[in-house]
Amino acid sequence: MQERLKELQEEAIQKVEKSVSLKELNDIRVAYLGKKGPITEVLRGMGKLSAEERPVMGALANEVRETIAVKIEAKQKGLEEAAVLEKLASESIDVTLPGRPIKVGNHHPLTRIIEEIEDLFIGMGYQVAEGPEVEQDYYNFEALNLPKGHPARDMQDSFYITEDILLRTHTSPVQARTMEKHQGKGPIKIICPGKVYRRDNDDATHSHQFMQIEGLVVGENIRMSDLKGTLEVFAKKMFGADREIRLRPSFFPFTEPSVEMDISCKICGGSGCSVCKRTGWIEILGAGMVHPNVLEMAGYDSKKYTGFAFGMGPERIAMLKYGVDDIRHFYTNDVRFLKQFSKHE
């Protein structure tokens, strides 16, 4: 009987080792350890044994069962692991295939430039002021020291609707309205972005509709040097810390003195190239100290208050910054153009 058990153990272990599937293994389990299996059968014959032999044989039988069970268990684990590995192997994919694209749009490049400028000045304590695109002649011209018949009105041929109402030619009327609203009191620190319109034929460098962003600071001790310092902060943040600025005298009816600001050319570093027309400088914006007539018209005492203003064109800045060569791109809205401005910078 003892031998028979050993024999069965050997036989079972061999079968377990040879088995290649979980099913086969289960069959072995049922065959050897089941109630109808040979070990149980052997044990049934225990009745013929003596009282001394019986527990010994019982223990042996259990030991054989146990041994087989352990083997089966071990084998099962092995087979399961192999099965998992096989499954994983069969599931492998081509990781170089493209991922599912997330549909994302982005800001129009002009909005991008405007928000960048807004944020930059917000950081310096400015508020964002807006106003109507259709304006009264008074706010667009007269309140800005451009009375009727002023020669500088030639410079900005305008779209009139009636004799007194026109599409604003600049965002300066927002400044005039803001000053009026402040009723002769300071301080004012605003930045005014928006659409403006001029009677120009659309071509690579002209657009009858374009954007402008202007700034205005009015207070009791605002100096030309403050304008220079402010513009330098702006230029370096907007165009790079290595840029230099230069102010050149200019003329605008609403400021006196008036200046234009150039930045050193990025392309040639100031030595002169075709982008900067060999001057080493690129014109960026117009600025100046608010004309006393403008202050007085808005109700400010020009003896007490001074201010500075500046204005620039987001199209021009975008063209310089991104190398866009035709202003019409901004209004054609070709997605192949628009989607180029998605990257955060």
């Binding site: 994302v104 807004e118 009636t162 009791e220 100096r223 003195p257 200046v259």
Partner: protein
């Protein structure tokens, strides 16, 4: 203004300063020099030649065979195609080896069998613009005066070894519309002196005032009129140096008298006019406003109809010139003229501007009057012109001038304190620095303690107030020398307001949802302006549009967005989404500003989802655009306040369109573009919305408030309802939510079936209902009780029955 570097040296010493350096200095101190043009650019080997013989080319009708002395040992044969070449002429010859503009090299050549050793040049071949070449030479070669020396450098003879500074003048600096004005500016920059031109001459004993009487009726328009009379002039070409200076400045030479008036225009900035005294038909000049409808033929032979806004010079009855703009054909100087009446006047800008604009006659003269001439230079300019006519037209200048003068000229006297200068500029100048600047400008200066009082010369009409002095100080002190500071004193809190912040949120959201931001034009056509308008109003039309396409202010954004889709679809981008925020303009009566409302519009077309290698494709549909919009409302906390109501909107699909209500107010629409419109625009199925962004951003959303996360489980019941086809899900959800409150927390549609298994006219909608009590675990019985109530309400209010 074109400024010749060489000519400028008549008035100021420029030694040690090259043209380029000068340009840089002028730019930095106030007047932008746009460019410096080198006139002789690249030209070599052009000399004065003498045409010794000229005969017909044996083999070509239009060519001449010339023997030309070019100063070499032997005369050379040159074939010339110019019709005006003739024996005895002194001409410009590009000799063999010469280089002409555009790197055009002259070689020995054979023309129709005849040898040609060079080329006789026209002025355009030497780089001079055709429009300034004297008329008699415009179709052929240029001919030098007979005394020109053979063999000398023709380029030098033509004054082309010069550089031209192109000044871009702002309207306030019209003083620099003259060589003398530029000289004063340069003098201030360099700290040098100005040398005035020669005007002294021996006048005749006869008096100009005996020849003509001046009367000015329109004294305000013409406060000063000065007429000089020059007798015995011989009309002919002006000296070559004067012609070349005129050409370099962009003016075509005519004859000595006309050239001299133009030369003075450039030199003094004072426009002059020369009349043929004998053709005036009277001994009188009367300046008056024209009569309405009065006719007048200007010297370009065009008949002009005048109005009372135009100023005319008359001979007492008939107009002889349109003041400041153009002379008349009836009194024009011709080759037969012997006595010249020379007008030097001060005309006010307004009538000159009106006339030049009305008749399309903008000229160098009118531009100067429009901007204002120096009243103190009127007489001097006349004297100088008379001097030149005596010298170069053989004229005899009569003594004095006939005048009408009501002009009071008072130089501007302006004071400023040193404290103000430093306070506004942020500088630390001392009085000596300031005084030196005004001395350099040749302004009168007096100083009393801290105050400097400046008398500005009349040529600088732009100096009127303290700030003008500030500018003079700043620009000549140098902006480079002004320190950089930031404003000090009371500060303001910066930032965006609520509206602006929310607008940015909306943009970010829509872009995150896959839409590109577009910016289109506010001006559109009559036809498009009112399409898709949310409010029907009169359109607002420009009084002088540049084109019909851009003549009306838009009432909606949609037509332009659809144009954007059309443009892109035609370029293989037929699956895109775009949005725009911007103003639309609602008429508000002709005397008031229109109401500007900020709108937001979006349009999507083509495939919305497509993942090529996985073969997934999903076209846009109503629920894609609606989902985007609902997400926007959710982002703004307005989701609960919005309703979509089936509606009809012009140019949208009648069955796939809804009005959008916010707090029961209509704010916009959403839907599919009408298939016929889609077809017209060549678009695939396109879904859109447009609504008042203003209404959305100004709507109040409930404040954000934390709600406890439920600790107890919810119970979900799914129901499939059979309803009439017309019943919309929104109505059912509404009923469910009302009947199920407060335990019913959520309801959503999870299936819609309209297939053929349904009874005719019916459809099935399945809802998932979620019940929850935040305080405890719900029992089945409790839920069943509420659920039964919900089902009863559905049946009662919408005839909805559970699907069997």
């Amino acid at each position: 203004m074109f400024v010749s570097y060489k000519w400028l040296q008549d008035y100021i010493d420029l030694s040690g300063v090259t043209a380029t350096e000068l340009a840089e200095k002028i730019t930095k101190s106030g007047i932008e020099v746009e460019g410096v043009e080198v006139l002789n650019n690249g030209i070599k080997g052009v000399v004065v030649g003498h045409v010794l013989e000229r005969e017909q080319h044996p083999n070509a009708d239009k060519l001449s065979k010339c023997l030309v002395d070019v100063g070499g040992e032997q005369p050379v044969q040159i074939i010339c195609g110019a019709p005006n070449v003739a024996q005895g002429q002194k001409v410009a010859v590009a000799t063999v080896g010469a280089v002409l503009p555009g790197n055009f090299k002259i070689k020995r050549a054979k023309l129709r069998g005849e040898e040609s050793n060079g080329m006789i040049c026209s002025l355009t071949e030497l780089g001079i613009e055709g429009k300034v070449v004297p008329k008699e030479y415009s179709e052929g070669i240029f001919v030098f005066p007979a005394d020109a020396e053979v063999g000398v450098d023709a380029i030098a003879m033509l004054n082309r070894n010069d550089e031209i500074l192109e000044l871009s003048l702002t309207p306030n600096r019209s003083d620099c519309l003259s060589m003398l004005g530029v000289a004063y500016e340069v003098a201030a920059i360099l700290g040098r002196n100005v040398k005035l031109p020669e005007t002294n001459l021996q006048a005749s004993t006869e008096k100009a005032s005996d020849y003509v009487k001046i009367t000015v009726e329109a004294k305000e328009d013409n406060p000063l009129y000065v007429a000089k009379v020059i007798k015995n002039v011989k009309i002919g070409p002006s000296p070559l140096w004067m012609q070349t200076r005129l050409m370099s400045a962009g003016i075509r030479p005519h004859n000595n008298v006309v050239d001299i008036t133009n030369y003075i225009l450039l030199e003094y900035g004072q426009p002059l006019h020369a009349f043929d005294y004998d053709r005036l038909g009277s001994k009188e000049i009367l300046v008056r406003r024209a009569a309405d409808g009065e006719k007048f033929v200007t010297l370009d032979d065009a008949e002009r109809t005048l109005t009372s806004e135009h100023l005319v010079i008359t001979n007492g009855t008939e107009p002889v010139a349109l003041a400041g703009v153009m002379g008349g054909a009836n009194s024009e100087v011709t080759s037969d003229t012997t006595t010249v009446l020379l007008e030097s006047a001060y005309f006010n800008g307004a009538p000159v501007r009106k006339a030049s604009k009305d008749h399309g006659l903008r000229s160098e003269a009118s531009a100067r009057f429009e901007k204002g001439v120096d009243p103190n230079r009127v007489r001097a300019a006349g004297e100088r012109a008379a001097y030149l006519m005596a010298k170069f037209a053989g004229g005899e200048v009569l003594e004095g001038a006939a005048e009408a003068d009501t002009l009071t000229v008072e130089p501007a006297v302006v004071s400023i304190t040193l404290e103000k200068i430093n306070r506004v500029l942020g500088t630390e100048l001392v009085m000596k620095d300031v005084k030196e600047i005004f001395d350099r400008l040749q302004f009168g200066v007096s100083i009393e303690e801290d105050t400097i009082t400046v008398t500005a010369p009349t040529r600088r009409g732009d100096i009127k107030i303290e700030e003008d002095l500030l500018e003079e100080v700043a620009r000549l002190y140098g902006y480079d020398n002004i320190p950089k500071t930031l404003p000090i004193g009371s500060t303001t809190p910066g930032g965006l307001n609520e509206y602006q912040k929310k607008r940015r949120v909306v943009r970010q959201y829509l872009e995150g949802a896959g839409l590109y931001q577009a910016v289109t034009y506010s001006l559109t056509s009559e036809e498009k302006a009112a399409q898709y308008a949310l409010e029907k109003r009169d359109t607002i039309r420009l009084s002088m549009p540049m084109s019909e396409e851009r003549s009306i202010l838009r009432l909606s954004i949609m037509p332009q967005l659809l144009e954007v889709l059309k443009y892109n679809s035609a370029r293989q981008n037929d699956s895109i989404g775009v949005y725009e925020t911007g103003a639309v303009f609602l008429a508000n009566g002709t005397d008031s500003l229109p109401v500007e409302k900020e709108h937001i519009a979006a349009a999507i077309t083509g495939l919305w989802e497509s993942h090529s290698w996985q073969g997934e494709k999903k076209a846009v549909d109503f629920y894609v655009i609606k989902g985007i919009l609902e997400g926007m409302f959710a982002k703004l906390g307005l989701f609960e306040q919005v309703q979509f109501v089936q509606a009809q909107v012009d140019r949208l699909h009648p069955g796939r369109t809804a009005e959008i209500l916010l707090n029961n107010e209509k704010i916009g629409f959403i839907g599919q573009v009408h298939p016929t419109v889609q077809k017209d625009l060549d678009l695939k199925d396109t879904y859109v919305f447009e609504l008042s962004l203003k209404a959305v951003l100004e709507a109040e959303a409930p404040a954000l408030q934390y709600e406890a996360i439920p600790r107890f489980p919810s119970i979900t019941r799914d129901i499939a309802l059979v309803v009439n086809k017309e019943t919309v899900s929104g109505t059912l959800s509404e009923i469910i939510l009302t009947a199920g409150a407060p335990l019913l927390k959520e309801v959503h549609v999870f299936d819609l079936y309209e297939g053929d298994k349904m009874e005719e006219g019916k459809k099935s909608i399945a809802f998932s209902l979620k019940y929850l009590d935040p305080e405890r675990t719900l029992t089945d019985e409790e839920v069943t009780k509420v659920h039964t109530r919900v089902l009863a309400a559905l049946e009662e209010k919408a005839g909805a029955v559970l699907r069997g």
